[in-house]
Amino acid sequence: MSAVTPPLPYRVADTRAETADSRSVELVPADRELPPFSPGQFAMIYAFGVGEVPISVSTLCGPHGGLVHTVRAVGAVSTALYALRPGDTVGLRGPFGSGWDLDAAAGQDVLVVAGGIGLAPLRPVVHAVLDRPAAHGRLGILVGTRTPDDLIYREDIERWRDRARVGVAVDRPAPHWQGSVGAVTTLLDAFALRPDRTHALVCGPEVMMRHTARVLMGRGLAAHRVQVSLERNMRCATGHCGHCQLGPLLLCRDGPVVGYDRVARLLAVREL
């Protein structure tokens, strides 16, 4: 979508606590419906009277048939969205941006690497791959979080273990934690990466994505086989205002998902 559109009213159908500071919010159209989203695309969500932020879709069709977004309360707008309750109304624009290129991964292994709440934009990818198991090879899901309590989608992750190679690593283990401790990249060995037939989809803090991409390339994965989801200050989401510019890219339009071969150099430039 490139045209500037007014926000459409969407009603909160349900909310679900994910962690102490993050919540999934399912939105259903109050009247007219936005065009369908694809995995990796984002919506601009307007908390009336507070402001608008870009949030990726974490489930394309929730329990009530709506779009699910997972929000972490870190700023004024996201805190307002975090505080939403069923029946509340927000404004929604979208779908915006490029999604994950699953066609490029057709017939190939798919490796999902997520850091923190970066798992949210990747969850539709996991659903899409699990829904069409014949379309891809093996599915690996590697998740890194700060502590065990910061892990989102716990029930999903347990379900995914039956059908994918799943690893979760935390930076700071709690006393009860029996899982992996360390950087998310330490989980790569358990996936047994096949560099010539794997596509990696990475989302998380930018430093984590750069580190992950470098480690993957060190294991023989070509840069064009690594997709990352980048964030910048997205305001208009239509490629006009320029706030989200990264070199030649306007990430609201050309991103947020970009091949690492296109952005590796750009991410190394200071104050680009």
Partner: protein, 152 residues
């Protein structure tokens, strides 16, 4: 021996066989301590199955703090490579562990007799240490804290 850790893939077949000739198949039950901090670092392992937690002693009565876990396919132990040849951390089996154990004395003798093998092995170890160093640095940035990862 089957199901070899991919860490050995870098070696030509002849050298791989030479290295494996000094290896022992070992296993550890859940909770077993493989080594303690400051103990003599006289061997290393290539993990085939199970998880091992690397830990550090804390003062007082607190249990050891886990700083990293290693799993199948990964290398456990590099303190034998350089002085003072003491373990920097402790290691405990989180699950039942199966591994290939390599005595440092034997490996160093092989390296002395075959410098090509020694060079390849040290390059491999350097790579592993460098990767872990960088992963540790990244973790120190506290990336996943709200202020670290930014708004989404």
């Amino acid at each position: 021996m089957t199901d070899l850790p991919p860490l050995l893939d870098f070696l030509p077949l002849v050298q791989r066989r030479r290295l494996l000739s000094v290896a022992l198949d070992v296993s550890f039950p859940v909770g077993a301590r493989l080594f303690d901090e400051d103990g003599e670092a006289d061997r290393f392992w290539l993990l085939r199955r199970g998880e091992v937690a690397l830990d550090v002693r804390l003062s007082g009565r607190q249990p050891e703090a886990v700083v990293e876990t290693l799993g199948p396919g990964q290398l456990l132990g590099w303190s034998w490579v350089c002085p003072p040849y003491r373990w920097h951390l402790g290691a405990r089996a989180v699950t039942g562990v199966e591994a290939l154990e390599f005595p440092a004395t034997d490996v160093l003798a092989l390296c002395a007799a075959d410098p090509e093998l020694g060079y390849a092995l040290m390059r491999q170890f350097t790579g592993v240490v460098a990767e872990r160093l960088q992963a540790t640095r990244i973790r120190l940035l506290d990336l996943y804290a709200p202020q670290g990862s930014g708004p989404r």
